[in-house]
Symmetry: C2
Subunit: 406 residues, 2 copies
């Protein structure tokens, strides 16, 4: 017999069944109102448009759609992404763009080409769980910088950048898990630091187009180009975007936009990883999005998600105890709740599921601390569910807050 425990790579020792994941499986029971997922609302998928796109692609260029294509991605889709990112006087070309299988793969591939064992990476705390999972094999040192309502505390960057970390990872817009956004001033300040130290930031931006209130703030790559007085992307930012939140996650498509030397390395890493992203998916995504359709569609998403966010915030205001605090996101899919420090959200989850409502405890998003926080998703629940779910959760929180130790 094979002793698999002897066979598995030492690097993977951290890979264990997660108890949280096991508990969250219970949220699939239909009687549970779940705010735990991170799913876009399926009833908003532009099904008819995708159907028409799939029909057109398979009728007009079916052989191409079913055949291998290049690792870089289909030309028309790369051009479309490049044109869409060419804002604020910037000229981004096809050569700056790699099509990947969702933003998760962007994170994974960036790790492959940039990270060596024991490297130092700068993170905001809390941060995106999937990044922590993807990069865990590298045994990284994390320089953790706290956040407030305006995002990363950028004035603490200087102190860590002098130690030349390999890169900085940020979700500047409507961050997962907190829903917070890095302010205009801090972006300027951040980019000045990047230029001064020759440092690199991964701008992971899955939610940036889902803004429901407040004013648009340009991307870090735009601030970077402007700070360098350049019209090109050949600066300090590696940008990751995705079709998952603006179109459909089931297509598994995203993109990296970066300086060409980075794209070339990423292409080689992707070749080893999966050769290329699906040709059919790419052509269907292009055919669906083109001619301005995706911009109209994003407007529709914004209208519905805005309403759900407002409803959730209003219900929290009404039903949550005053001891709870929460973020007030201007966009995205998530917000985060902080409880008094004597409470552990992982313990609460079991009781919440008994009461048929679910969330994700915040600890796994935190490099340190966060046990007394949890994340709520507002995009994938109907208005009536939002109100009833928050009412249930509010009752639970009031019950446990009262039980507080003297």
């Amino acid at each position: 017999m094979v002793n698999w425990n002897d066979k598995f790579a030492e690097r993977t020792a951290y890979m264990k069944r997660s108890t949280i994941r096991e508990i969250l499986k219970l949220t699939q029971r239909p009687e549970v109102i779940s705010f735990a997922g991170g799913l876009p609302a399926p009833e908003l998928f532009p099904l008819e448009r995708v159907q028409a796109a799939a029909r057109a692609v398979l009728e007009q260029r079916g052989q191409q759609a079913l055949q291998y294509s290049t690792t870089e991605g289909c030309d028309e889709l790369r051009d479309w992404v490049a044109a869409r990112l060419s804002r604020g006087g910037l000229t981004i070309t096809r050569d700056n763009v790699l099509i990947v299988s969702g933003a998760q793969q962007a994170i994974d591939l960036v790790g492959r080409v940039l990270l060596d064992d024991g490297d130092t990476v700068v993170l905001e705390n809390p941060t995106y769980l999937g990044m922590l999972a993807a990069w865990r094999p590298y045994n990284l040192h994390y320089s953790v910088i706290p956040t407030d309502a305006d995002g990363l505390l950028v004035d603490r960057l200087d102190k860590v950048l002098v130690r030349r970390p390999k890169l900085i990872y940020l979700v500047p817009n409507f961050q997962n898990p907190q829903g917070i956004t890095l302010s205009w001033e801090r972006r300027e300040q951040l980019v000045e630091c990047l230029v001064e130290y020759g440092a690199v930031v991964i701008e992971d931006n899955p939610y940036g187009e889902l803004r429901y209130s407040g004013s648009h703030i340009p991307s870090l790559y735009e601030f970077d180009a402007s700070c360098r007085g350049s019209r090109s992307l050949d600066g300090h930012v590696i940008y990751a975007g995705t079709f998952s939140k603006i179109l459909a996650p089931g297509l598994r498509l995203g993109w990296v936009a970066a300086p060409t030397p980075v794209i070339e390395k990423l292409v080689q890493a992707k070749q080893g990883a999966d050769l290329q992203s699906g040709t059919l998916s790419q052509l269907v995504a292009y055919e669906t999005c083109k001619d301005g359709f995706i911009e109209e569609h994003i407007e529709r998403l914004r209208a519905v998600y805005r309403q759900r966010r407002d409803l959730m915030l209003a219900a929290m205001e009404e039903f949550f105890p005053q001891e709870a605090r929460w973020s007030k996101p201007e966009g995205g899919l998530f917000l985060m709740v902080s409880l008094p420090e004597f409470l552990d959200a992982s313990d609460l989850l079991k009781e919440a599921i008994n009461r048929q409502v679910a969330f994700v405890p915040g600890q796994d998003f935190h490099v340190e601390g966060g046990y007394n926080t949890f994340r709520l998703n507002f995009s994938n629940a109907q208005p009536a569910q939002i109100e009833e779910g928050i009412r249930r959760l509010g009752r639970l929180l009031k019950d446990v807050v009262v039980r507080q130790p003297v």
Copy 2:
């Protein structure tokens, strides 16, 4: 400015622009008859069936098709793969199957969960280029075993297995690049070795269903189960298969079938890599293949590819100089030519492209040697092209063989 050369991970120093890749770009010129690719024939894609499948999936369960699904893959596709692999009295279940983005990702994920820096891996020489690329970051030691017309020289395995390598990688059927197949006797012998040493083999089988002559030989996992007197897959074989050669590579779908502890680890690795393979692609693949369609379709592929293989072999017989030797594959997409040792196939390629015919030099497939070999693909060329291309190549070979040094 960022100094990217300082930033890139040391592990990626091997990633350079390949001169061969650059030369092969020239083969895309329409006047060049290329036997260099590894593409299935696009005119054989079952376009109408895929169209009908896409229509049915999007009409009947469009929301599901466009939404996130589980990392493991869609249930019906996993069940279908499991049932299809349950041969020879074996019972393979959904829990033994992970859906991946092509067999290339199977190789990559297996590397992630099994390989540590400096591990030893047993390979046949030559072997699949894409495996060498995917696993290069691990700085592996290769125990290289030669092949003959019956595949790996299995009687040399004992000597390397005593040193407990992490795993063995094999393409037992119609191997890329040689087209050779591991014989029945050697499979029995190999599996006895596995059981004796508790060793593990990756059975990479993209071409196994494309047999044009000779008799079917069961898979290594079947020999393994039979040798262990078991009806389960929980043995010594990790099996990788793909839809790329039997249906369409543009869907980017394959599968791993393995003992459940391996599948569980692979699922966690895949979660970090890309969360899941495309939901739409998976449902379209299932809907296309089901009810026995794929078996009929494979019969059609076999008939056409058989003819192309026969045509190429006959043309080689007619036009190639007697100094050249080549494999006579019973299936798959490739065959391999060996030239007298004073010839370097990489040098020949430039001259071949001048004469408007192309191949892939064999050196990159070899861990050692092989500079005097090249690979020909026969699946993706029309009969007239095969004859004319082999005629051009034969003329070139005769010219250079005559120039031989005294």
